[in-house]
């Protein structure tokens, strides 16, 4: 399926959080927008001063709050606005990626890229690739429902929202529909309270 076409009703649309640096990728994404490039609309961008500012905790928190995939993107090597932030980030995320893989998180859920301010088209490709990949992996209920796994009974009254924990499990269509009905944001808040 082309990643830019909306999925059929009830199909899984991944929610992807992108942590990007202010100077390169955010500007690049802005360029993609002003250039009217067509791309998947599943990505929510969080702008940070630098990739060096991106703590691995941001990523675990995003997974907790309902992200199915993550993009981390910043300036190309030698282009960092702060000279070395991306070099530090590169080491940190090389390790983080291996850690998450070792803990059983599919590496395809986390995408790393360098996108400069002039690479609007590259940003489109990064986004579309990530969406396609995460869509194939399915919803990451296994992560956010870890709380429910341990509880003896569903803590949320919206029990139907919590499909059984499994990798790329089913039942997500129902959940996404109910989230859409409730508005994605309130849906995410509800999960956190659960």
């Amino acid at each position: 399926m082309d990643s830019t076409t909306p999925a059929a009703a009830g199909g899984f649309e991944p929610r992807i959080t992108a942590f990007v640096c202010n100077w390169c990728t955010y500007t690049g994404a802005d360029l993609a927008g002003t250039s009217r490039l067509q791309m998947a609309s599943n990505v929510r961008i969080i702008r940070l001063p630098c990739t060096g500012r991106i703590d691995p905790m941001f990523i675990t928190k995003a997974f907790e709050r309902g992200a199915d995939g993550i993009i981390v993107s910043g300036c190309h090597p030698a282009d960092c606005h702060y000279n070395a932030g991306n070099y530090h980030a590169r080491r940190r995320f090389a390790i983080f990626r291996e850690l998450m893989d070792f803990l059983g998180v599919a590496p395809g859920r986390i995408t790393f890229s360098w996108v400069s301010a002039s690479e609007g088209a590259k940003w489109r490709d990064v986004v579309n690739d990530a969406v396609t990949r995460v869509r194939a992996l399915g919803p990451f209920t296994a992560y956010r429902n870890m709380v429910v796994v341990q509880a003896t009974a569903p803590l949320s009254t919206a029990a139907a929202d919590h499909s059984p924990p499994e990798h790329g499990g089913g039942g997500e269509g129902l959940r996404m529909q109910s989230l859409a009905a409730a508005g994605v944001d309130s849906g995410a808040t509800k999960e956190v309270q659960a």
Partner: protein
Amino acid sequence: MTELRELARRLLSEGTVNAVLGWEEGPRGARPAFVTTPDGADRLIFDHRCVHNLASYLSPRRPHLKRLGKVAMVLKPCDARAVAGLIRETQVPRENIVLIGVRCGGVVTDPDSDAALSEATVADRCRGCPDREGRLADHTVGTAGPGFPGPSHRAQKIEELAAKPADQRWAFWQEELSKCVRCHACRQVCPMCFCDRCLADKTQPRWIESSPHARGNMAWHVARAMHLAGRCVDCGECERVCPQGIPLGLITRKIASVVAERYDFRPSDDPAVPAPVGTYRMDDPQEFIL
């Protein structure tokens, strides 16, 4: 042992140090001891039950030794890596400590056990350990056994896990991490965990959910692993003190192997060697970045 006691007595009676940190015979096996008088030096022991990483007491988060001024510490080769780490990160002034290195041929897993040191009882981290003495030491005493051949059981387990499909690894860690009761013993005992205020204790924002469910536990152990990346000295204390028996060493060792492969860094007992995270090279590998 006589050599160790004589040296400790001399350092204390000459006033070189105000205390010697070592091990003594406890009600159950060996336990850490603070000796502050020359006569007390006779309490000191060192053998295969002296498992604890005493460098944890040097950590600035613990005021025990700071209050005492200049101290001496009995130092296994693996503890030397922790002390070097604390010096490297400017947590302990080198001139404030006298290091009494003891030659070591391995320790047992459980300091409380009466078991002799053998292939069956030796701590896993001692398998394949090449160090018989810490190079950081000011004095070196004692004799060492031959050590134990590697590879460690953990290294084998890590390979085993890595060979499995991701969902089986996930299931394995779900089961292990679900056991965590977030007592933070792993943090308290770790010589390299010395923040005044730990990320896990912060409430605004609360990065790590505080209730001990698998999701918060995952966040905690990810945070711990990342903070120890390239800093973990493999003293094995976190795994030893874990009341739930979570194999934390698998995580720290896995990361250590990543750091060793990618950045050619192994925990060193030389404080001048820079840690791999917090430094960088322009040509670091980046095959995972689009």
